[in-house]
């Protein structure tokens, strides 16, 4: 999965999509996931990072991760080919 190359998140958690002009805000965990996906980290790497850093379990993280990726997909923030993978 790949986030569109011109989409970025600010330090305060604002995501701006320059193609559509839409802005979205995400919480600090969202910023972390967004940046790790942007850096093309695998699901396993991201999951390991969150399980180590936060008090959560594997199933809860998987569900939250899928919800988040689903939102990125819904708002057209993923590259087309990769969006179809989800």
């Amino acid at each position: 999965m790949k986030i569109k190359k011109n989409v970025a998140v600010s330090e305060s958690g604002y995501i701006f999509n320059p193609s559509t002009g839409e802005s979205f805000s995400v919480n600090p965990s969202g910023i972390e996931i967004f940046n790790m996906v942007k850096e093309q980290k695998s699901y396993e790497e991201i999951s390991a990072h969150f399980l180590k850093k936060y008090n959560t379990d594997k199933d809860t993280f998987e569900k939250d991760y899928n919800d988040f990726i689903g939102m990125l997909n819904h708002y057209l923030l993923l590259e087309k080919d990769h969006a179809e993978e989800n």
Binding site: P18, S19, T20
Partner: protein, 347 residues
Amino acid sequence: MPKKINIAVTGLNAIDSPGPGIAVIRGLREAKSFDVRIIGLAYESLEPGIYMHDLIDKTYQIPYPSTGTDSLLKRLEYIQEQENLDVIIPNFDAELFPFIKLSPKLKEMGISTFLPTESQFEERHKINLPDFGKKYNIRVPHSKAIFSTVEIPGLVQEFNYPLVVKGKYYDAEIAHTPEQVQAYFTKISNKWGLPIIIQQYVKGTEYNATGLGDGKGNAISIVPMRKQYITDKGKAWGGISIDEEEIFNLTRHFIKTTKWRGGFELELIKDFSNSFYLLEVNPRMPAWIYLSVGVGQNIPEALVNLALEEKVEPYTDFAVGKMFIRYSYDMIVDVEEFHKISTLGEL
């Protein structure tokens, strides 16, 4: 020291549904290739621009387009004697036709314009949009012109409700029933005359693109924008510059195939299958044209240079994510100024 040129500008009605004049003037004031003296041309004595003396050096009242080109020409001849104009930029749809007609005479008087040709102006008209779409291979919603309320019941044969009821020049309302079409037909035709245009409603997100064509098929500027805040009249009160490849492609295609001459605004809508439809072609710069200056493409300046037959290089870059946020502002004006423009027609 850049040369000083005298430019007359219309559309000084900086109201809730503003004319583009003030935004155009701000661009001209910030031009790097020339210095300006700005002459305002106003129809009504309460157009706010008349009283904005930091932007406009002098204003003249001009007759409404409906009074005919002779009276307009007469008035412009008088203004030319006083002001020695180099360029006129008309900014209203309704006045463009007389100015296009008069442009050869204006040229003889020493006044340049950079307007669409008569056929460009006519074929992009709302009434002609379906043919325009076919001719230039641009996706447009189905539409037709109607001249009487008798035609309303038959619309169900061609359209699905809701549909859009549009005026010849301005105004648009979304109608969900034939009764609403009837009401909007009466309201809009009373204001703008006939015909009324019925257009299939497309649900989606509104986008706009402004730009400048050199009349030979080349795009001098293209700036796409997404409306962020829309007034009850459907006007953008806030917007943001965006970088959407499909809008660039569509706009370049429009300029190339029509060989568009002058400034323009394309009104677009993206439906849920991500297809863009062209809703309207406005044959002049829009009221939000100052955003083009803000993102690094001074369209009013480039338009003046084209009018003066100067070489103009196409803009290639612009800032994405710049927003415009419109605001209203109360000026305090002495009643003498109002009396002067009302009685003498000059201020």
